[in-house]
């Protein structure tokens, strides 16, 4: 990685972090758990990394297996996370 590329990645990291700090404002207490669960599903973005690990770099047995394990786990995180959040929020509407 060239230092220019690294600096751009660090820009992204810093600005996205500030955005993350600002995004959460006055959250009503009832939304604490759904918000936590929803952002947990977003952290399943590591699924993108797992897909890449299964593919272009996974031609050794050990790394390929690790990549596939990661893919199964990340899929559970993403699919389960969004479904659970949706179930929680569906309950809210009824009230």
């Amino acid at each position: 990685m060239s230092s220019e590329a690294l600096i751009i990645l660090i820009y992204i990291l810093v600005l996205a972090s500030f955005l993350g700090f600002e995004l959460i404002a006055k959250v009503p207490p009832t939304l604490h758990t759904p918000l936590m669960s929803g952002s947990n599903a977003i952290s399943g973005i590591t699924i993108v990394g797992a897909l890449l690990a299964c593919n272009e770099m996974g031609y050794s047995t050990l790394s390929k297996w690790l990549g596939m394990i990661a893919l199964v786990l990340a899929t559970i995180n993403v699919v389960g996370g969004y479904t659970v959040t949706d179930r929680m929020l569906k309950m809210f509407k009824k009230k």
């Binding site: 996205a16 972090s17 993350g20 936590m36």
Partner: protein, 278 residues
């Protein structure tokens, strides 16, 4: 990476931001969650488009298996058991980042026999550490809430010094890994220490404080994903990871305030409670 895929990642990032923002309000929360799910779908499809045909079958197999497990448990779990479920899913996310980092490490050192550049090796170490702590920490939080282990704080003499010693040994092993990447003992030491530290940091915290801990661990898994983004040089991982990492910390603070506790107080849980009990 083609420009179309980079644009898809950009759209996904925007949808994540909008999704989190809309989840701040009860009215728009459900739609916000759907927007962020759409963002995730776009990111996944864009990534799948650059995958070579050889590994396609395994990849689809893994996705189908993971989706089936995720859907089954997400629909089966009782409403009262939601925090446990989130903890468990979060632990899987942390473990996934951990596995991706190791996959990359072994490929580079054992197959390609290359020497990994400094930024990448540091990102791998950070991802293994945060991912490992998130995984075992979330599993302990799950077991505590689920009643498999006692919800009361588990403390023993010299707990904090032990954690400190483990952390220092981690830093030492990390330094040696940067210098000599070919020795697998070092990376195994890093793996073991991070897994143990995850357990040790969560067992002293009482069951009532678990939601706050899960929120903090959720923030950690975002940071682990972010570190993975630095390994793979991938923007969407860095954006989504740092969004979750930062917003998770704020949410943790808000949750602490709602419980009238300070974050430090929660983290040193066993400590604080034994004092108030006395």
């Amino acid at each position: 990476m083609s420009i179309a895929i980079l644009l898809a990642y950009l759209i996904a990032s925007i949808l994540f931001v909008l999704g989190i923002k809309m989840m701040n309000k009860t009215k728009s929360a459900r739609q916000g969650n759907r927007l962020s799910a759409l963002g995730m779908l776009i990111a996944i499809v864009a990534t799948l488009l650059q995958i070579e045909v050889i590994s396609l079958v395994e990849i689809f197999g893994c996705i189908v298996l993971g989706s089936a497990i995720g859907l089954y448990y997400a629909n089966k779990v009782e409403m009262t058991k939601m925090p446990e479920m989130v903890a468990l899913f979060n632990g899987f996310g942390g473990l996934a980042s951990f596995a991706v980092a190791l996959s990359d490490f072994f490929l580079r050192t054992e197959v390609n026999m290359e020497s990994i550049e400094l930024v990448t090796v540091i990102s791998i170490i950070v991802s293994v550490f945060i991912g490992g702590v998130t995984f075992t920490g979330s599993i302990v939080a799950f077991l505590k809430l689920n009643g498999n282990i006692s919800g009361s704080p588990i403390t023993f003499k010299g707990q904090h010094p032990l954690n400190l010693i483990l952390f220092i040994s981690f830093l030492a092993a990390a330094t040696f890994t940067v210098i000599d990447q070919s020795d697998p003992i070092l990376i195994i030491a890093l793996i073991v220490i991070s897994l143990i530290l995850g357990i040790l940091t969560v067992i002293p915290i009482g069951g009532a404080d678990m939601p706050v801990v899960i929120s903090l661990l959720n923030s950690y898994s975002g940071m682990a994903a972010c570190a993975t983004g630095f390994i793979l040089n991938n923007n969407v991982l860095i954006v989504a990871g740092s969004l979750v990492g930062a917003s998770g910390i704020i949410l943790t603070q808000i949750m602490c305030k709602a419980m009238n506790r300070s974050l430090i107080n929660v983290l040193l849980g066993g400590f604080g409670q034994s004092v108030s009990a006395a």
